[in-house]
Amino acid sequence: MLSYALRRIAMMIPILLGISVISFSIMYVAPGQPAVMNLDPEISFADRAKQIEALGLNEPAPVQYVKWLGNLLRGNLGTSFSRRVPVTTMIGERLPNTLLLMVTAALLALLISVPIGVLSARKQYTPIDYSVTIGAFLGLATPNFWLGLMLIMVFSVQLGWTPVGGVATLGAGFSVLDRLQHLILPAFVLASAEMAGLTRYTRSSMLEVLHQDYIRTARAKGLPERTVIYKHGLRNGLIPIVTIVGLMLPTFVGGAVITEQLFSWPGIGKLFIEAVFERDYPVIMGITMLGALLTVIGNLAADLLYAMVDPRIEY
C-alpha cells in the first residue's frame, strides 16, 4: 500500500509537468495580449513596451516557460502582471475562502444525497423513488448560475434571510452565524452540481447491495431493518461513492469559478476569471496548477480510500 502510494505520488510529477506545458501553450496560443496596462491613449507605446520588457514578455514562449518552471521549483509562482503582487500571496489570501466553500459543499452534498439515495433504493418504484429520480434529473438539468440567481432572488431579496453575497457582513465583528448565513447559499449551489449524480449513484449502488445474499441472510436472521440497511447495506453500498467523492474535488474547483462569481465570494475562482480576462499569465498558471494538483490528489485519495473501505482491493 505504501509503495503504491509512493509510486502514485511519483507519477504525479510527470502528470503535473504535462499539464503545465499544455496549459502554458494554450494560454500563449490564445488570442489577446496580457493587459499590462489599460488601453489608455495617455499611455504611449513606449511606456507599454518598457513594461512588457520588464515583465519578460518579449522573450520567446519556451524561455518564459522554463523561467516560470524554474521559479515554480523554488516555490515562486511569479508576480501578477496587472496587480504587481506575488501570485502565492494572491492565492494565499483567497484559497481559505474557496476551501471553506468546497468543504461545506462536499459535506452538504453527502449529507443530503446519501440519505436520499438510500431512501430511494429502499422504496424502489414507489412515488418517493420516482420523485427523487425526477428531482435528480431536474437538478442535473438546472444550470448552476440560474439556480444561484433564483436562490438569491427568493432568500436574499424576497425573504431577506441571507445576504446577497460576500463572506461576512461589512463592519460587523466575526460571528459564526453571520458567516454561515453568507456561506449557505453558495455552498448549496456548488453542492447541487454534485447532489443529483451522487443521489443516483447511491441509489443504484444500494439497489445492487440490497439484492445480495448477505442482505437476505441478515434479514433471515431477524435483524431489524435499520441494521440491515445501514450496517450491512450502506457500508458496502458506499464503496463506489468514495470514488465519486474523490472525483468531486475537480468539479468543485471548476464549479467554484461560477459560484464565486455569482455570490461575489472572494475565492480563487473569482480571481481566476479576472486573470483570464486580463491575460494575467502568472495568475492563470498558478491557479491552473493548483487545480491540477487538487485533482491528482483527489484521485489518489479516492484510490487509497477505496482500498481502505474495501478489503477485497489491495495494491
Binding site: P31, G32, P41, E42, D47, K50, A54, R94, P163, G165
Partner: protein
C-alpha cells in the same frame, strides 16, 4: 517623435461601456452635475457610505496603475496639485491657485497651501512634490506615465511652498498632467524607484495628505477609508467610505435594493429601470466625456471614398437609436468633440442627418450600383463587410444589428460579429488591423487632445482605422504647442471640423454615464469622468 499623452482614454474597456446609456432623473444636457435632491438641511457630520464597485483598484499609487479605480482611490488618499472639476477644467487643490506660466509656455510655477499634513503628521512641502514628479523621469520607472512627462526637463523646489516645472518644449497638455497624488518623501525616499510599484507595504497602507485615510484593504472583498480630521480642505462630513467589491452587476443592483450598498459605481442600461423604481435610490446620469463610434478600416477599398463614408452616415438613423435602445439617454454625435468641454466644441460642424435617399445618391455618385441580389456592386465587388465588436456589451450588439438593418435599405450588406475583448483588441490593433469595420467607444481623457487623429498614430497608436490627413497632422502638432487657449481652441475645432467632414468613423452618440445613489446621500456630484469626485463634500441626511 514619440506618441505621448494623446488625451483620449479608451472607453472601449468593456466594463466601462457595459455601463453605457440609459438613465433617469437628473441627467441634464451638457456636463451637468447631478445632485440627488435639493438638500433638506445643512450638511451634517457622521456616517459612512458603502460604495459598490465592480472592480478593485490595482493600487493606491496611481503613478504605477492605469485603471480609473486606482485613480479615484488615489484621489481619496492623496492630495494633488490640481484636480479636474466637473466641467473638466483643472482647478487648484494642493496648489493655492492656477500656476504662473512663463511667456514661452515652458515654465509652470505652483504655490502650495501652507500647513498641509500627511496622515502621519509630517508636513507636506515642495520637496514631496518634487520627489513625486521626479519618479516619472527616473530611468527605473516602468509605470505607465513616463511619456506624459517626456517634455518635462526639470522639477525643483524654489522654497518650501513653491514648485517649478520646466519643460524642454511647450506642451499644451502639461497642465492637465499635474494630477498625481503627492507621495511622502520621508517614507519612500529609501525605496528604489523600480520597487515602488510593487511596494505593497506602502501601497496597501498608504500615507497621503488627502481627505481620507486608508485603514484596511482586504483584497477581493473590502477597502475601508476613514475621514482625515486634519485634511487641509476641511474635515470630510462622512466618517468613512467603504468599498465593497462585487463580482457582477446583478448582484450590485440587489445589494443596492437590500440597502447593503449606498452607491453603485456604473450601471448597465438594462438595470436602469429597476433602479429607478427603488424608492430609496436616485438614478443619476450625466453626459460622458466620450463617444461611441463605428470605425471604418480605411485600408479597405470599400471605405476609401469620402462620399461613401458620408453616405453610410446618412443611412444610419442615430437619433432613433438613441431614442429607442438608449431610451433617450445619450446624444447623437457628429464628431469626436466632447460636448462636455464647451471651449473646444465647434458649433458649425458638418452633419449627416438620417437621409437614405441622400445616402443612395452619394453611393451612386461614388460608382456603386445595385447588383442582382440587391447589394451594391462596383467593378465586380459587392458592398459587404463584417462589423466587429466585443462581446458582453448589449448596446453595441444592438447597434450592430440596427446598422445591419438600416444599411440593407441602401444596398449595403453588414455582417455583425462579436469577439471576446482581448481577442478583439488583438485583431483590430496594429500590427494586425484585421477588420472591415468595428464598434468601439472612447472615454476621453484628461486633456482635450486630438492626437489620435495624427497619422503617426497609425503604426503604433490608436488611429486604428488608418486615417491620414496632412492638414490634420499639421494642426495636431500645432495644438500641442499652443499654450494660449483661444488659439488652441480654434486649432482643435478645425481638426474636429475636418474629421467630421471626412467621416473616418461614423460617430454615433455621446453616452450618458449612469450611477445609482441612495437618496439620503447629499452633496454628491456626478463627474463626467470619475465616479468618485469630491467625496469630502458628501454627507448623509439620515
Amino acid at each position: 517623435m514619440r506618441i505621448q499623452n494623446t488625451g483620449l482614454s479608451i472607453a472601449a474597456v468593456a466594463s466601462v461601456l457595459l455601463a453605457l446609456a440609459g438613465c433617469d432623473g437628473s441627467g441634464g444636457d451638457g456636463a451637468a452635475a447631478a445632485s440627488a435632491k435639493p438638500a433638506s438641511s445643512e450638511p451634517r457630520y457622521g456616517g459612512r457610505v458603502i460604495i459598490g464597485a465592480f472592480a478593485e483598484p490595482v493600487s493606491s499609487n496611481d503613478l504605477f496603475a492605469s485603471d480609473a479605480y486606482s485613480r479615484e482611490l488615489a484621489a481619496l488618499v492623496f492630495t494633488r496639485l490640481m484636480r479636474m472639476n466637473e466641467r473638466l477644467e483643472m482647478e487648484p487643490e494642493l496648489a493655492e491657485a492656477p500656476p504662473d506660466v512663463s511667456a514661452d509656455g515652458k515654465v509652470f510655477t505652483y504655490h502650495l497651501h501652507h500647513g498641509v499634513k500627511f496622515h502621519d503628521g509630517v508636513e507636506l512641502t515642495a520637496r514631496d512634490v518634487v520627489f513625486t514628479y521626479r519618479i516619472f523621469k527616473h530611468p527605473d520607472y516602468t509605470g505607465p506615465r513616463a511619456s506624459q512627462f517626456s517634455a518635462l526637463s526639470d522639477v525643483e523646489a524654489v522654497d518650501d511652498y513653491t514648485v517649478r516645472f520646466t519643460l524642454s518644449e511647450p506642451d499644451a497638455r502639461f497642465p492637465a498632467n499635474v494630477r498625481y497624488g503627492i507621495l511622502p518623501k520621508h517614507l519612500l525616499d529609501k525605496v528604489p524607484v523600480a520597487s515602488l510599484g510593487d511596494d505593497r507595504d506602502f501601497n496597501d497602507h498608504p500615507i497621503g495628505a488627502g481627505p481620507f485615510k486608508l485603514v484596511d484593504w482586504t483584497h477581493g472583498q473590502t477597502l475601508t477609508l476613514e475621514a482625515n480630521p486634519d485634511y487641509f480642505g476641511g474635515r470630510p462630513y462622512l466618517d468613512g467610505v467603504i468599498y465593497r467589491f462585487i463580482a457582477n452587476q446583478s448582484a450590485g443592483v440587489l445589494l443596492l435594493q437590500t440597502g447593503e450598498v449606498d452607491y453603485l459605481l456604473s450601471l448597465p442600461e438594462s438595470e436602469a429601470q429597476t433602479v429607478g423604481e427603488m424608492p430609496h435610490v436616485t438614478l443619476l446620469g450625466t453626459l460622458q466625456h466620450g463617444y461611441v463610434y463605428i470605425g471604418w478600416n480605411l485600408r479597405n477599398p470599400l471605405f476609401a471614398d469620402k462620399r461613401v463614408r458620408q453616405a453610410l452616415a446618412h443611412a444610419v438613423d442615430r437619433q432613433e437609436f438613441v431614442d429607442t435602445i438608449l431610451a433617450g439617454h445619450g446624444r447623437v454625435a457628429d464628431s469626436p468633440a466632447s460636448p462636455v468641454v464647451d471651449w473646444a466644441y465647434p458649433d458649425d460642424l458638418p452633419t449627416f442627418p438620417y437621409d437614405p435617399a441622400r445616402a443612395k445618391a452619394l453611393l451612386a455618385e461614388a460608382g456603386w450600383s445595385p447588383g442582382p441580389d440587391g447589394v451594391l456592386r462596383k467593378d465586380g465587388r459587392r458592398f459587404s463587410f463584417m462589423l466587429l465588436t466585443n462581446d458582453g456589451n448589449e448596446v453595441r450588439r444592438d447597434l450592430g444589428v440596427i446598422v445591419q438593418q438600416q444599411l440593407a435599405k441602401v444596398g449595403v450588406e453588414v455582417k455583425p460579429a462579436q469577439m471576446e475583448w482581448g481577442a478583439f483588441l488583438d485583431r483590430v490593433q496594429p500590427p494586425r488591423s484585421d477588420f472591415d469595420a468595428l464598434i468601439l467607444g472612447w472615454n476621453l481623457g484628461n486633456a482635450v487632445d486630438p492626437s489620435n487623429w495624427h497619422s503617426r498614430e497609425i503604426a503604433q497608436g490608436l488611429n486604428y482605422g488608418g486615417f491620414s490627413n496632412a492638414r490634420v497632422d499639421e494642426l495636431v502638432d500645432r495644438s500641442i504647442r499652443e499654450v494660449d487657449r483661444t488659439e488652441r481652441a480654434a486649432t482643435i475645432k478645425e481638426i474636429y471640423r475636418i474629421v467630421a467632414d471626412e467621416q473616418p468613423d461614423l460617430f454615433v452618440y455621446n453616452p450618458e454615464k449612469l450611477a445609482a445613489l441612495r437618496s439620503d446621500v447629499r452633496g454628491f456630484v456626478l463627474h463626467p469622468r470619475d465616479y468618485i469626485y469630491a467625496p469630502e463634500k458628501w454627507w448623509l441626511d439620515r
